[in-house]
Amino acid sequence: MANISQPSQGAWTRMLPNSAAAFHRISALLTLAILVIAFSFASPAFLSVNNTLTILLQTSVIGLLGIGMTMVIITGGIDLSVGSVLALSGTVTGMMVKAGVPVVPAMMLGVCMGAACGLFNGFVVTKMKITPFVATLGMMLIARGAALQLTGAAPISQLGEAFGVLGNGALFRVVEMGDNGFPRVIFPGIPYPAILLVVVAIVASYMLRRRAIGRHIYATGSNEEAARLSGVLVDRTKLIAYTLSGALAGVAGNVLMSRLITAQPSEGVMYELDAIAAAVIGGASLMGGVGGISGTMIGAFIIGVLRNGLNMGGVSSFIQQIVIGFVVIGAVYIDQLRNRR
């Protein structure tokens, strides 16, 4: 009897840890599927091409922030500044464009601004030894204050058509001139922000899984002292994670402002919480050492779909907050149940 049951049990326990991470992703994916099905039953317009594109657009910003956040969270840190850095970066780009700088270099400068904020975060965390929570809370205030001060708290509008391409353009868009003289959209195309999100997600995933820096990010969050003793340059690893988070907040800021064709210094308030929620729903642990890009993407889409679907159902944004709050707690609770086994 014992002889028969033992090998199968061994195989089972050997599979557990690997399947555990997959289990979380699958349950998150299942949640997403259930949400999509439920919302499309509730409102036929939910699955329409236009609404799908809207969801893609909305999710791209949370997704970009979430990717950077995931890297920081895996190192055992947190980045509360991404919402404010997003605003500062977008504002800087807007001001550059207004001052006559062409759109592409202006956007690059905006992203550099974000990266600089992230680098500063990393510096405060690693060299000044201030906890990530406090360090990035400081940057949250600094970047928001800077954005508001630079603009006098007023949005910068009339930035020209070229500025709006990143946020509103689409690849493979097919438009036909109708008989009545109005353009008719045959295929709306794939929005640039969605393409950007996919590209960034693939690169980030490759970095985390296949490059040494990725392994060092996991090792640092798993056991910082062990990583240091093993020869991992822990400080450099963290600096890179925070800088990337800042840079991605800059990218997200440019996408968002471009979509609005306005540089809004008060945009992105509380976005850091959505980004953290996306990472955590996707299986990242705030204790560090655990998390992944694919999970965070699912998490971002759960939040995006939830927001969009509830909006279409006429649910107030306050109720949405409540729902998402419960989803975050539920996701982490399920994760703990799994780990306790």
């Binding site: 899984r209 296949r210 996991y218 090792a219 798993s222 056991n223 990583a227 093993s230 050492g289």
Partner: protein
């Protein structure tokens, strides 16, 4: 008897020591963890480091392994003064360490831990996980043939398996000086025997080993020399032939030898003379 003389001849004064620590001190605020310790290690020598809990053994070893900067003192490797500013510095001088805390990243698997900080890469700079797995399987099998769950995060492994990974990591790379801080604390009898065999094999290759241990049997079985620390100070350094276990116990507990101490091998020494 002739063996004893051979052993003595192996460590004559002319061979340059691998390691010379001189006047090492380590202070933590008011606490003096290591108090003016000077200690040598020669090629092919196993030196047992003993002492009560909190005597400063781990601190001394961590200073040599670059994990901790000394407050004062000098370290020479093969005759040259070196700066052990980081674990990487120490490794560059061939110092490998099995830390008492094992220093493993819990969420990573055994191969990732074995190669952490020194990952094998493909031509394009990608992680070569396949090769790391194969190499890890090889080296782990020499220490524990039952080690099969190489893809599990090390947090899910037993204490002994974790210790085996830490040992494997220290011997896989080009090691000249091996620091083992209680390497068998979590091991079963057969694994402990394997580590003992490993120590003999490495010593035969001319590698110098510091073995921190509380196990008197292991120390007398494996070491050429034994040093005892007490409250941060080095209170004794003896060839293993000239002391009894009771002498060492007295050094550990009281910080001094019994008053009536005579070298254990006095007869042999006189006969040789």
């Amino acid at each position: 008897m002739s063996q004893t003389l051979q052993a003595a001849a192996r460590f004559d004064a002319e061979t340059t020591p691998l390691v010379e620590m001189r006047g090492i001190e380590k202070h933590f605020g008011g606490v003096v963890a290591v108090d003016g310790v000077s200690l040598d290690l020669r090629p092919g020598e196993v030196v047992g480091v003993l002492g009560h809990n909190g005597a400063g053994k781990s601190c001394l070893m961590r200073i040599l392994s670059g994990a901790m900067a000394p407050s004062r003192g000098e370290i020479r490797i093969a005759g040259d003064v070196v700066e052990m500013g980081s674990p990487q510095d120490a490794r560059a001088h061939g110092v490998e360490t099995i830390y008492q805390t094992l220093a493993l990243a819990d969420h990573l698997d055994a191969p990732s831990n074995l190669f952490l900080g020194r990952e094998l890469k493909t031509r394009f700079g990608n992680l070569d996980d396949k090769r790391m797995l194969a190499e890890a399987r090889k080296v782990l099998a020499t220490l524990n043939p039952n080690f099969t769950n190489l893809k599990d995060p090390v947090s899910s492994l037993s204490g002994g398996q974790r210790q085996v990974i830490a040992i494997a990591r220290a011997i896989y790379f080009d090691v000249k000086i091996l620091i083992m801080d209680e390497p068998t604390a979590a091991l079963g009898p057969s694994e402990t025997a394997m580590v003992a065999d490993l120590i003999r094999k490495l010593r035969a290759q001319g590698i110098g080993i510091f073995l921190v241990s509380h196990d008197m049997h292991d120390v007398f079985d494996l070491c050429d020399r034994v040093v005892v620390m007490n409250k941060g100070k080095l209170v004794g350094a003896h060839d293993i032939d000239e002391v009894h276990k009771d002498d060492i116990l007295s050094l550990i507990i009281k910080g001094e030898l019994p008053t009536d101490w005579r070298p254990r091998n006095l007869g042999e020494l006189e006969a040789a003379r």
